[in-house]
């Protein structure tokens, strides 16, 4: 009875926190724009702000997905099929970009491709390639994490047997009959997720393109003038149309990815990776450039935070200095100091953790328990908790902003905690997705054995369940903190008060200053470096607890 009550409270809290703001936001937008779905969709082509945006969003997401696969598959193959010295370090370096906040990636690529380094972005025909490469960099680890486990643990006798059969005598034959069919679900799942992340990309699009918009960045841009009765009605229609399209595309992609993951060959005969992996010195030709590709944009950030370029009438000079760091970490009239942003970010992350982690745990526990007695209800709750995945961060930010206007604008605009609502909305579904599989894989016999030993439910929880799920809980906790610290899209939309500035928002604000101020790039890169080092520390901590062969995103 008590357990049921806790579950009801958790589901209600989740609904209030996550669904209600979104529903209120939609309600407010519909109140202004009217309920005419055709008009919302047609407004996208009719309005100069949104004309061609959908096409560009799809095009860059498709090319980014293809580029990610083209770069990621050879790397996954080398990592999965061959032995490497310091293999765990190599794998961590190559999967690290995915945990980096997108604004950090944007700053890294902006500097690397900009006029202070490779200088290949200033040409208006090349920025699209820079964006695609940046998306490939960001999503590379998805391909590795989805494909490498299949490659590194597949029983080698499958390939050996095929070599002895007529259809497997050539490399192409073995690729066609073995590797392609076995890898295709993992490749397709990775492509789906890359498409989703590129489709909803915000920071990279905002900073790498020369003013080009995706649905996500456009919604973030025009969101502040939405929801006001009688004012710029067309923008409300554009937001509704964009949200509807984005929601549909994301929902379909996520459904496709779940379907593909279920089709992954869980019954494949596996072997210890020590038996599977062989030596391959030629593989360094893939691994070394891959490590450089993963590390250089981040290393550039740290180096460039100490480089100041001064331009005068006599020309420009670049010198080493800590002025960028001093500038970033001292308050100015228009910006809080980096310290304030750091405290805000840590504060939001910790509050987010104290709410999202228990909430996610209880939801996962409820789903896991319902799966035995009421599988349909469990499935419904499972889908319900995944719903925010189909809503991008800008949409969540708009939901919180417009939702709170509807409830009490004055109260919410002065409430320091407001950005946390968006962070909880974003992180809770991830907590559920990390803890639920671990709960499912926990053999019921352990709990039954505890019962036969006369342990109470509480005692079983603390002595059996909690220690056995410790790894997943820690990963979920670290992931929650990392996501909250690096969250940019929703925070950028929600932040209406400089007292709420987080590290990612501060990076964006500094970089938005006039570019002729010499300390702008090093100061933005200094804050980016801090955020990057925190994310790196959290990533290394989480890697210690991650099961090696999980083959998923986290």
């Amino acid at each position: 009875m008590k357990t049921k009550l806790v579950a009801y409270v958790a589901v209600t809290t989740y609904s209030l926190l996550i669904v209600i703001p979104l529903l209120l936001a939609v309600d407010r937008l519909v109140w202004v724009a009217g309920f005419d779905v055709t008009s919302w969709i047609s407004s996208l082509d009719a309005n100069y702000i949104s004309k061609g945006v959908f096409q560009f969003t799809v095009m860059q997401a498709v090319f980014s997905s293809l580029a990610t696969l083209a770069i990621g598959i050879p790397i996954a193959w080398q990592l999965g099929r061959y032995k490497w010295p310091f293999q765990n370090i190599i794998r961590s370096l190559l999967t690290m970009p995915f945990v980096m906040p997108s604004i950090v990636a944007a700053m890294g690529f902006l500097h690397l491709m900009g006029d202070n380094a490779l200088d290949i972005r200033n040409d208006s025909t090349t920025w699209l390639w820079v964006l695609i490469i940046a998306h490939a960099w960001f999503n590379l680890s998805l391909v590795i994490r989805f494909c490498e486990p299949v490659l590194s643990t597949l029983d080698p006798s499958l390939e050996e047997q095929l070599r002895l059969l007529p259809e497997g005598r050539t490399k192409f034959g073995r690729f066609r009959h073995l590797w392609f069919p076995l890898l295709i679900p993992s490749i397709a799942a990775a492509a789906c997720m890359t498409f989703v992340f590129s489709f909803t990309s915000f920071a990279l699009v905002k900073w790498i393109t020369l003013g080009e918009k995706t649905l996500e960045s456009m919604m973030a841009d025009i969101g502040s003038s939405a929801g006001i009765p009688g004012y710029m009605i067309s923008k409300n229609e554009v937001i509704l149309g964009s949200s509807l399209i984005q929601f549909t595309v994301l929902l379909f992609s996520l459904w496709l990815m779940t379907w593909l993951q279920n089709r992954r060959q869980s019954l494949l005969p596996t072997a210890n990776e020590k038996i599977v992996k062989k030596n391959n010195n030629a593989g360094w030709l893939v691994i070394l450039p891959a490590i450089c590709f993963a590390v250089i944009p981040l290393a550039t950030l740290i180096v460039s935070s100490f480089r100041v370029t001064e331009t005068t009438v006599d020309g420009s000079r670049t010198y080493w200095s800590t002025e960028g760091w001093s500038y970033a970490f001292s308050a100015t009239n228009s910006l809080p100091s980096g310290w304030d942003a750091l405290y805000n970010s840590i504060g939001y992350a910790l509050i987010c953790l104290t709410i999202a982690l228990p909430l996610g745990w209880i939801l996962a526990q409820t789903i896991s328990e319902l799966e035995g007695d009421s599988p349909r209800l469990a499935r419904a709750l499972d889908v319900f908790t995944m719903l925010p995945f189909a809503v991008s961060s800008a949409m969540i930010g708009l939901g919180v902003m417009l939702g709170m206007i509807k409830i009490n604008p004055e109260f919410f605009y002065s409430l320091w905690l407001t950005p946390v609502i968006a962070h909880i909305m974003i992180t809770t579904p991830f907590v559920v997705r990390i803890i639920l599989p671990a709960m499912r894989s926990l053999d019921a016999k352990y709990d039954e054995c505890g019962q036969t030993l006369g342990m109470s439910r509480t005692k079983r929880f603390f002595l059996i369940k909690l220690p056995m799920l410790r790894g997943s809980i820690l990963i979920a906790a670290i992931f929650t903190i990392a996501m909250s610290l690096g969250e940019f899209g929703a925070s950028w939309v929600v932040t209406r008060n400089s007292d709420w500035t987080t590290l990612p928002v501060m990076i964006d604000s500094i970089r938005a200053f006039p570019y002729n101020e010499p300390l702008v790039p090093p100061a933005a890169n200094a804050v980016s470096s801090v955020l990057m080092l925190i994310a790196l520390f959290l990533f290394i901590s989480s890697e210690k607890f991650r099961p090696k062969r999980d083959g998923g995103m986290f």
């Binding site: 070599r163 002895l164 497997g168 005598r169």
Partner: protein, 196 residues
Amino acid sequence: MLRCIGLSKTFEKNLFDEFDLDLDAGQIVAITGPSGCGKTTLLRCICGLETLDEGHILLDGVDITRMLPEERGIGLIFQRPVLYPHLNVERNLKLGDKQADIPTALAEVGLLGFEKRAVDTLSGGEGQRVALARALLANPSVLLLDEPFSSLDDDLSEKLAKDVRDLLKKRGCPAILVTHNKSIAKLFADVVLSIE
């Protein structure tokens, strides 16, 4: 037919040293020995999945010692049947011969009607029969069998051993079986050799 001359292989310990074997056309040889004595490695060396330290392998007078496994035309049946889980029985068999008459091939191993079955629904014995049918479809010069009956119960392994022997004899396919089970070796082979 198949001549093995002075085969030697060391892997952490000396597995086999100066091993000689002559296999005539249509002949079936069994090699027995305790676990870990190098029986499986010997078969893997003959079909080319492992390299030899020393020695030569001649097939119909041609030295195949340095050839890739896929070029040797030698078939191998593993201890546990290696069937591809993403393909059904019919498509697994077609890996042996694209043009094969599948019902006939299955009838030969007593599995007529199994064409569309998923391989994960097969029992251990059924799986080995499918693997055997597929290996025979590839029309190997020599068939190597690595303890294929060891995971089955006694009655079933004896029955399958008899069935496989009859089939190999009917086709005139020479074969080498390695096993630790001496009674299966006697039942299956024309000649039984022992390695320690």
